[in-house]
Amino acid sequence: MSRFQKRFAELKEKGEAGFVPFVVLGDPDEETSLEIIKTLIQSGADALELGFAFSDPIADGKTVQEADQRALASGMNTDKCLELIKRVRQFNEDIPISLLLYYNLIYQKGIEKFYKEAKEAGVDAILAADCPVEETDPLLEAANKTEIDQVFIVSPTTTKKRLEKILKKCSGYVYIVSVLGVTGARASLQKRSIELIKMVRPFSKLPLCIGFGISKPKHVKNVIEAGADGAIVGSAIINIIKKNIGNKEAMLSEIKELALELKKATR
């Protein structure tokens, strides 16, 4: 049983949904990033979604873009990201880890090599943000070989026909994009998000995790009530990092506070 399967089964038993924070590896630097991730785990994260910084993140809004820039400026690269994941694994054996990154980073290492090294580092699932189901076969081959879950995005524009194609290839969990647009914190939840969860629910037994624009405990509550199994929160956490650059103590304590609140909303 994969870590994702196990964790979501446990959550179901407890009658909870998953709180899945997203941060960019190495934002604002390697050491602080590790402490942020540890704080998130200690404050109730049920799984982690970790981003690899990319120079041209077309699926991301300003918040994640800037996080990518900070990480790159601090010297992060694919190898260092994998090293950092190993250190997270040393800290926690059980938490499911999913990667969210861009195709070119996988491609430049060599697809098979990337999956192999990711597996060794302790990665459970991979989502390539700019790789739709049409282009995923080379990734799926490597994913199958290494027993890494290949996660796909379902978005508000996804048609029923595409949904079928996606669900045939998706494993681990389904990443539901809650808004029409790029990543970023938003003040209110679109009605469409709820409709989308309800549309996908009958077609998949996989856990449904919803992300993009989920930034408040209230959003988390709403999507879970609509049938989501997990809520992914990125920009709201990254905004705290940005606000507190140079003041690690305040940064970590604010992140802890938000994480605890978000986790509470999943119960």
Binding site: Y103, N104, T157, L180
Partner: protein, 392 residues
């Protein structure tokens, strides 16, 4: 026209899921338009009456004498708005209109594509937002005013390298949120399918006209066609009609910037260390990047060539050895800018000046009877500030 998403191993559709249905709709609409007589008539009428096509093929008397062969210039600089970009902008804007989308977004580097899109939007009564890097806004001011005059909203891009690459990022982000009522009017043979195929189609009249014109003037085909290559739309536009004529040499000229060895250039094919296969902006092609796949910031004196990736069809043509690619440096382009102005009374865009610069180096190998066609993709008025600064 083939409906595959790839050119050999290049091309494809590397975009977030949200955009896939929009690309699917676009693909369908584009292939449908190819057979739509009314659409094509409307497009052709616009090209003739609004753009002023066909553009002339001018015999370059001074340059021919200087180089010892017959040089002809394909005059895209005489197209309305002053560059070939208008051909594609009108084609896509018309298509968007037929699809019921009334808002256009576009990226622009030199400002030529932004201007063309703004003008197409004005002509067809559509809304238009143009994303432009802050660096480019600074170096191509006259085009910013032109876009604004035509009623477009110019949005400065302050992220990343603040040039064309980042303007494309912003367009893709905008489109991800707006694809239901907005058409992304991509300006070169780049991006996810169907863009490279579609833009090539909407530029292919350049080569078709040139072929007819040279056969009329000389009764035979040229030895070589030379064009500058940023993304590569003017080059594909003129190459396409000649691809089946295997004896016609097709040469693309990239931006050599400050020299390949300095790393400050936009020569994807000429720098084997930085220029490797990869994925940028939805397409698999040659991309300037570091070892880990982070995209490398390019340099060129010409904003229109200042881009990290080359159109996927060019990558295929190069693999097939049907086209070859070289480069000209900033310095060489500036000299060519001056020489063409003096010898021919034609002030070329700095982009096109790269094609002229390479011709100056290369054409000496030809015999007096040999014909070479150089694509003058745009006019140089927009570049006067830069040239004055550089040449004094």
């Amino acid at each position: 026209m083939k409906k595959e998403t790839r050119f050999g191993e290049y091309g494809g559709q590397y975009v977030p899921e949200t955009l896939m249905p929009a690309l699917e709709d676009l693909k369908k609409a584009f292939y449908k338009s190819l057979k739509d007589k009314k659409f094509n008539k409307e497009y052709e009428t616009l090209l003739r009456d609004f753009v002023g096509r066909p553009t002339p093929l001018t015999f370059a008397k001074g340059l021919s004498k200087k180089l010892g062969c017959k040089i002809y210039l394909k005059r895209e600089d005489l197209a309305h708005t002053g560059a070939h970009k208008i051909n594609n902008a009108l084609g896509q804007a018309l298509l968007a209109k037929h699809m019921g989308k009334n808002r256009l977004i576009a990226e622009t580097g030199a400002g030529q594509h932004g201007t063309a899109t703004a003008i197409a939007a004005a002509k067809l009564g559509m809304e238009c937002d143009v994303y432009m890097g802050e660096v480019d806004i600074e170096r191509q001011k006259p085009n910013v005013y032109r876009m604004q005059l035509a009623g477009a909203n110019v949005i400065p891009v302050s992220s990343g390298s603040r040039t064309l690459k980042d303007a494309i990022n912003e367009c893709l982000r905008d489109w991800t949120a707006s694809c239901e009522n907005t058409h992304y009017l991509l300006g070169s043979v780049l991006g996810p399918h169907p863009y490279p195929t579609m833009v090539a189609h909407f530029q292919s009249m350049i080569g078709k006209e040139a072929k007819k014109q040279i056969l009329k003037a000389e009764g035979r085909l040229p030895k070589a066609i030379i064009a500058c290559v940023g993304g590569g739309s003017n080059a594909i536009g003129i190459f396409k009609a000649f691809v089946p004529d295997k004896k016609v040499e097709l040469i693309g000229v990239e931006a050599g910037g400050k020299g390949i060895e300095t790393g400050k250039h936009a020569a994807r094919f000429s720098d084997p260390e930085l220029g490797r296969k990869g994925v940028l902006h939805g397409t698999m092609t040659y991309v300037l990047q570091d070892k880990f796949g982070q995209i490398y910031n390019t340099h060129s004196i010409s904003a229109g060539l200042d881009y990290s990736a080359i159109g996927p069809e060019h990558s295929m043509l190069r693999d097939l050895k049907r086209a070859s690619y070289s480069y000209a440096t900033d310095k060489e382009a500036l000299q060519a800018f001056k020489i063409l102005s003096e010898e021919e009374g034609i002030i070329p865009a700095l982009e096109s000046s790269h094609a002229v610069a390479f011709t100056l180096k290369y054409a000496k190998k030809y015999k007096p009877k040999d014909i070479v066609i150089v694509n003058i993709s745009g006019r140089g008025d927009k570049d006067l500030d830069i040239v004055i600064k550089e040449l004094g």
